[in-house]
């Protein structure tokens, strides 16, 4: 594969070039570090507080509008280029397994198709543990910081199409270095999926005592993709829309069925559900754990519930 160099001072020119055709999204500093559409700033390396999932699964999204009995669904997405950290790109691969298989989700599919991903270097924060989670290379174009220049390589036709005359071809091969993480899940085989053995009831009780069911962990999680569907209609009852909105398994009525029965009424069941959904339950569907090791749930938890700490207390098999 052909590699390229881009001078650091040319990055702004490259972004201006992209802005002619695309919405350019990247990690920036606003009130917090977060993914936003770039104004005049350059993307930063810092680990963001929120994940990039809102650009693929918006917090609230209209599925369709209806007038009397006519249903009208439109999906419009502008082409986008996204500077994305490795963990968030891997999270998209995980959500793909759910949203792009069997009944394909047309809204997510369109957004994925219209987005070119640029792997962007990152500085891990104190809660990152991505090295334990077997991340793979997934990008259209990758920037590796080489001190004065960026080494750039492409992985797809989409990525190649972005390479313009600012990039200088080189015979060098870029060396990707995985950033060093302070936290680590100790599994026997070094893989990331955990199988629970023995009686873990006391463990869940302990963390349920700490948990406030605030659902911050699921909001910041890049792989949490659950939603509710709601109908919203005008006062005249003629026009309405069906929307989906993010939902959280940590909320008490997440499993409430008609008639009022709640399957996961106890908080310990809900805490267990989240942790094991991330680490082991979804192994059959995803072929890996549903966690990418971004550590956002640890950073956002008001009572410091630490998924790494829990994972290290569970016995593992696979």
């Amino acid at each position: 594969m052909q590699g390229y160099y881009l001078k650091k001072e040319d990055l702004n020119k490259f972004i201006q070039f992209l802005k002619r055709k695309f919405d350019v999204i990247g990690p920036v500093k606003r009130d917090l570090y977060r993914y936003e559409i770039l104004n005049d700033e350059l993307p930063v390396y810092n680990h963001t507080t929120y994940s990039a999932k809102k650009f693929f699964l918006p917090p609230v999204e209209t599925l369709y509008i209806y007038e009397k009995n006519k249903i009208n669904a439109k999906i419009k997405v502008k082409p986008r280029v996204m500077f994305i950290h490795r963990c968030d790109a891997n999270a998209l691969l995980i959500i793909d397994n759910l949203y792009l298989k069997d009944h394909k989700d047309p809204y997510y599919k369109k957004r994925r198709k219209n987005t070119i991903l640029i792997d962007w270097p990152c500085i891990p924060d104190k809660n990152c543990f991505c090295k334990s989670m077997d991340l793979v290379d997934y990008f259209d174009l990758r920037f590796i910081d080489n001190g004065k220049r960026y080494f750039v390589e492409y992985h797809s036709k989409k990525g190649k199409s972005l390479i313009n005359n600012l990039f200088k071809p080189t015979k060098d091969k870029g060396k990707y270095k995985q950033p060093k993480c302070k936290k680590k899940i100790h599994t026997s085989k070094g893989t990331c999926s955990i199988y629970v053995k023995g009686n873990t009831k006391k463990l869940w009780e302990k963390y349920a005592d700490m948990c406030l069911s605030c659902s911050a962990c699921t909001v910041v999680c890049p792989t949490c993709s659950c939603f509710d569907i709601k109908d919203i209609y005008d006062f005249d009852l003629k026009i309405g829309k069906r929307q989906r909105a993010w939902s959280s398994c940590q909320v008490w009525d997440y499993t409430r069925v008609a008639g009022g029965y709640i399957f996961r009424k106890d908080r310990e069941k809900r805490v267990k559900q989240r942790i094991l959904c991330k680490l082991s339950y979804m192994y059959d569907i995803f072929g890996r754990a549903r966690c990418v090791g971004c550590g956002r749930c640890i950073s956002s938890c008001p009572t410091d519930i630490d998924i790494v700490e829990i994972a290290n207390k569970l016995e593992c098999k696979r």
Binding site: Y64, Y66, F227, D231, R244, F263, C277
Partner: protein, 261 residues
């Protein structure tokens, strides 16, 4: 194809079953297995999963109890009104795999609805199966569903119908299903049990079945969970990573025994 968009269908017939349950015949022509479900949707109100309680290519019957937001509004609809439906979704009872076996159908309350689809299938294909036993349990005589059908089933199959509590004037059986199940003599090696009902009943029925010698893979259970999408996206129905809407709602108990809520 947008899987979230429902199709319009007409209500062909409405019949009252009990004080809070109606049966709706809808001209939604679709091939389906017994135990599968559709997402019924009213624009402006919402959607809910309802299992199909008939087995025909020409229509679907939906047995709807007035317990929630959407079902309350469905109860206001009349013959000729339109309703929106999408699907059919999920995996039903694997009837073709069960051929030549004795079938024991065990249902409780509204859980009898998906089993009516099974029984209609059995009625149409009686020769393919061995002896057929039907155990139905309801809360009270007023809650008994499908009274017209049970008369017919009683002639064709061995039907045992019981209610939990009843006034003294009630002539039928009173009590739980479990002791009646344990009393009956089955050819256990050649039998399968198909169950659906409230969680607490399923729990005890499974205990009884195990007690009289059924192995896990001879039992099929159907689960009820909250669903928003019906197509494995929204995550509400996940049980230990198994999506009830997509991999279920019917599971073989050899898989389902490891499930946690």
């Amino acid at each position: 194809m947008n899987p979230y968009i429902p199709e319009q269908a007409k209500i062909l017939d409405v019949r009252r079953l009990t004080f809070d349950t109606n049966i709706y015949r809808i001209n939604h022509k679709i091939k389906h297995d017994p135990g599968q479900f559709v997402q019924v949707s009213l624009l402006g109100i919402g959607e809910c999963p309802i299992s199909i309680c008939s087995h025909s290519n020409k229509y679907i019957d939906l047995c709807i109890r007035d317990v929630g937001n959407v079902t309350k509004f469905i109860h206001k609809l009349k013959k000729g009104d339109s309703i929106f439906v999408r699907g059919v979704y999920g995996h039903g009872y694997p009837m073709e795999m069960l051929e030549n076996k004795d079938v024991i159908v065990i249902g409780g309350g509204t859980g009898v609805a998906p089993l009516r689809s099974v029984i209609e299938y059995l009625e149409n294909n009686t020769k393919m199966f061995g002896d057929i036993y039907i155990f139905l349990g309801f809360r009270s005589p007023d809650d008994i569903l499908f009274k017209n059908d049970t008369k017919r089933w009683n002639k064709k199959f061995k039907l045992i119908l019981t209610v939990d509590k009843a006034p003294r004037t009630y002539k039928g059986k009173v009590g739980y299903i479990m002791p009646l199940l344990e009393k009956e003599k089955f050819n256990i090696e050649h039998s399968v049990a198909l169950t659906c009902g409230p969680p607490i009943m399923i729990k005890f029925v499974l205990q009884s079945l195990k007690k009289i010698g059924f192995s896990d893979d001879q039992i099929y259970v159907s689960y009820e969970r909250l669903m928003h999408c019906g197509i494995g996206k929204c995550g509400h129905c996940a049980m230990s990573g198994h999506l009830v809407c997509q991999h279920g709602p019917v599971f073989n108990y050899s898989i389902a025994k490891d499930f946690e809520d």
